[in-house]
């Protein structure tokens, strides 16, 4: 770089007047140690500026001096007693706003962090609450089912306990596909209602249904079809006013008008 050009470029004035950027200042300071003429140009401009300022200075009000110096004395006392640490590069009026700004920034960060924390906790609780509600609903439903079941069993027990109930044990036909089958008819001697208990019967094949018959004076009378369902101990069949025996055959779904004799599984006579 040509130092004369640099001197005439306005760099000296910019530096002295405090208009130079950090970078420009650094460049200037690195150059003037090596170039006495740059230093001379700077000194010259500084003197011109200083003279100008002196020649036309406006004096401050006289009372300002005592005000400023009493303030300096306070500062001086502070410094000596060491009560306050003075940071030389920080202008006095910007200290408080900075502390306040720093404090509010810290508060903001802390509050944001807390918000995130509480929000994640909140989401966690929502999930757990939902899970609890689901479990509770499930348990209520289970309890409902159990109650219904218990009521069913209680009514069944009531029927079986009834002394007016005639019991007809029906045992397996040796020639049937399942000789070990067994069923029981509970027959209310007053109302003539018929209830069937399936002790043991093979599962009906597809398209087939078991049918109960009452044998009245040697003739089979339809007493209804039934399916074997888990959890249903007694099936109410058709009302039969009188009968000497009961039998069960396997028929096509919906039942038949007359029994298929060779598909008879169980039979039992009414005693007494």
């Amino acid at each position: 770089m040509n130092i004369q050009e640099y001197i005439l470029s306005g760099a000296v004035e910019s530096y002295v007047l405090g208009l130079a950027s950090e970078e420009e200042r650094a460049t200037f300071e690195s150059l003037y140690t090596a170039h006495p003429e740059l230093r001379a140009a700077r000194d010259h401009f500084e003197l011109v500026l200083e003279k100008q300022a002196f020649d036309e200075a406006v004096q401050p009000p006289a009372e300002l001096k005592s005000r400023i110096f009493s303030e300096l004395d306070v500062e001086s006392d502070r410094k000596q007693t060491g009560r306050t640490k003075i940071k030389p590069l920080t202008p006095v009026r910007s200290i408080w706003p900075r502390y306040v700004a720093a404090a509010s920034l810290i508060l903001l960060v802390a509050s944001t962090a807390l918000n995130f924390y509480f929000f994640s906790r909140y989401k966690d609780y929502i999930t757990r609450y939902d899970a609890l509600v689901a479990t509770q609903t499930q348990m209520a439903a289970n309890s409902q089912q159990l109650q219904v079941k218990v009521q069913d069993y209680e009514s069944v027990l009531q029927l079986i306990k009834d002394p007016a109930m005639a019991i007809v044990k029906m045992s397996g036909i040796p020639t049937s596909p399942a000789p070990a089958s067994a069923t029981t008819v509970y027959w209310d001697t007053r109302s003539k209602d018929v209830y069937l208990l399936v002790n043991s019967l093979p599962v009906a094949t597809a398209g087939k249904q078991y049918q109960l018959w009452a044998i009245v004076d040697g003739k089979p009378v339809d007493a209804g079809v039934f399916d074997i369902k888990a959890g249903i101990p007694l099936v109410k069949m058709k009302n039969i006013p009188q009968a000497q025996a009961f039998a069960i055959t396997l028929e096509n779904s919906g039942g038949s008008p007359t029994p298929t004799m060779d598909a008879m599984y169980v039979m039992g006579k009414v005693t007494g």
Binding site: G18, Q52, V58, K79
Partner: protein, 167 residues
């Protein structure tokens, strides 16, 4: 100089008597308000007192350093929130008192400001913004809506002119 760094009261008394006028002038030219200028001058001397260690004679004259302390303090005040707020409240009064600006016109026709009026208007406005209002080159480019390169060139040319007028 050593006496200043020792914070000797007599040395500061001399400093004040010698330089307060020049520094007061620049402060007044920037803040444009006598009462505010008094407060700023107080702060300028506090700052000089506190920061005297950071003054490096190799980097320039003591006056140059103090001038920049004064200019920075004045510009800081100008840019501070409290000042900007009070300024809004004052606008009305200022508009009413158009006739009563004799002291302010006075302060604007001395020192650097006097030389400033001899510059071309487009140069003058940039020095006003950069030196008396403390805006960076980038901010000036924004305010004046001209390219940053133009700002830099104009300021450089203005400074060259200023030096010649000051001789």
């Amino acid at each position: 100089m050593a006496a200043l760094k020792q914070r000797d009261n007599d040395a500061y008394g001399y400093l004040y008597d010698h330089y307060s006028g020049s520094l007061y002038t620049i402060v007044k030219q920037i803040v444009q308000n006598t009462e505010l200028a008094n407060d700023v001058l107080q702060e300028v001397f506090l700052n000089i007192w506190r920061r005297i260690e950071s003054y490096d004679p190799a980097k320039g004259r003591l006056f140059t350093w103090m001038l920049n302390v004064a200019r920075n303090a004045a510009i800081d005040t100008l840019r501070s929130k409290s000042y900007q707020n009070s300024q809004k409240n004052q606008e009305l009064t200022d508009n009413v008192n158009i006739g009563g600006q004799s002291t302010q016109t006075n302060i604007d026709t001395i020192g650097l400001k006097k030389v400033l009026v001899r510059l071309k208007p487009e140069h003058r406005v940039l020095i006003e913004l950069a030196y008396f209002k403390g805006y960076t080159h980038e901010e000036i480019a924004d305010i004046e809506d001209i390219p940053l390169g133009t700002v830099k060139t104009r300021i450089r040319n203005a400074l060259i002119q200023l030096r010649e007028y000051l001789q």
